[in-house]
Symmetry: C2
Subunit: 203 residues, 2 copies
């Protein structure tokens, strides 16, 4: 990693941590230059604007999400094993990635839901990709006969996202010590609802 790349990496890590704690809109070039102990002009060398910086932060968050959630599950059998692995890791990925303030991606989605602009557009596209990945994992489970053939996988993804958000709130906001257990119970029930009662392969 060259000097420029290393400094860029340091800025992104600091910014991601800040976004995770205070929200994306509080990651200004001014605040970040203080936290990363760099001059504002030094930051401008790496990012063209506040929007550009925020998009780069979301990009970095997604890289971390893929690394902590999807990559470790890729070698597992397709279908429910991969899905469960990914969902379990998804729920705790912000901690695994060392972010002190919870998932910056969903926090940004709530923050930007009514704020039009390029950052929202970018996040919306990436959210679509993420939901597409979840649906893909669920579709695999249908193909494998682990979920019923009539499963509405987009509906299940919608409900999984809800459990994720409720867990986020219970963990970060109310500090419920049972948050993860409640989320796991909800996921179990959701998958059980779609498990064939008369599977082709009952082993």
């Amino acid at each position: 990693m060259g000097k420029g790349e290393a400094s860029r990496h340091r800025i992104l890590c600091t910014g991601l941590d800040l976004a995770s704690e205070r929200g994306l809109s509080n990651v200004t070039l001014g605040e970040l230059s203080t936290r990363a102990a760099m001059s504002k002009s030094g930051l401008f060398a790496h990012f063209k604007s506040k929007d550009d910086l925020q998009i780069k932060l979301l990009e970095a968050a997604e890289v971390a999400l893929v690394e902590h959630v999807l990559a470790p599950c890729a070698a597992l059998p397709a279908g429910v094993p991969q899905l469960r692995c990914a969902v379990d890791r998804w729920f705790v990925w912000a901690q695994s990635a060392g972010l002190r303030g919870g998932c910056p991606l969903y926090a940004a989605a709530f923050e930007l839901d009514d704020v039009p602009g390029p950052v929202r557009e970018y996040l919306l596209q990436r959210h679509e990709v993420w939901i597409g990945i979840l649906i893909g994992l669920l579709d695999d489970a249908v193909v494998e006969g682990q979920l019923s053939t009539d499963t509405d996988t987009a509906q299940v993804a919608f409900e999984l996202e809800g459990i994720y958000l409720s867990h986020h709130l219970a963990r970060r906001f109310t500090g419920d010590p049972d948050a993860l257990q409640r989320a796991a119970r909800a996921v179990d029930a959701l998958l059980a609802r779609h498990t064939p009662t008369d599977p082709e392969d009952p082993t």
Copy 2:
């Protein structure tokens, strides 16, 4: 309504709309004085500080929530009828209340999850009351024999909150036209999971 009270009411309505669109932390005395076409000193006559203003806004949001969600259901039979009425209205309450940017209470919970201080403390207390109300409605349904006696009503409330949040995101962020239908389907399935298979009163 006296002149002072009317002006206070106007400030709160403007502020609530602003909070709903841009998030609570963007409701500063400066921004609000511009939107409400009042001097900053005029605002200071009503609110002691930014924190005080934000707490009053959350208070006003809760009054609107009660008015639009709970009050219209109070005369219905206890249990599932009241619960369904409240949940259906909860999902769309921000629109019913004329807020352009979705529920300011849950948006604030995501915004403040890692921001300690009196506003977060206040919201946390009110959130506990709200979840207590949901659990109370579910408990009534258990007493009425409409939900199984072994229903973990706190778990069901956790899952209902998740469906609410997923709906919020689908509606406000991704603009999914099926958001409400998906949410209704999820609520149906959640209640069905806890409906006694052998009810005492099978009518």
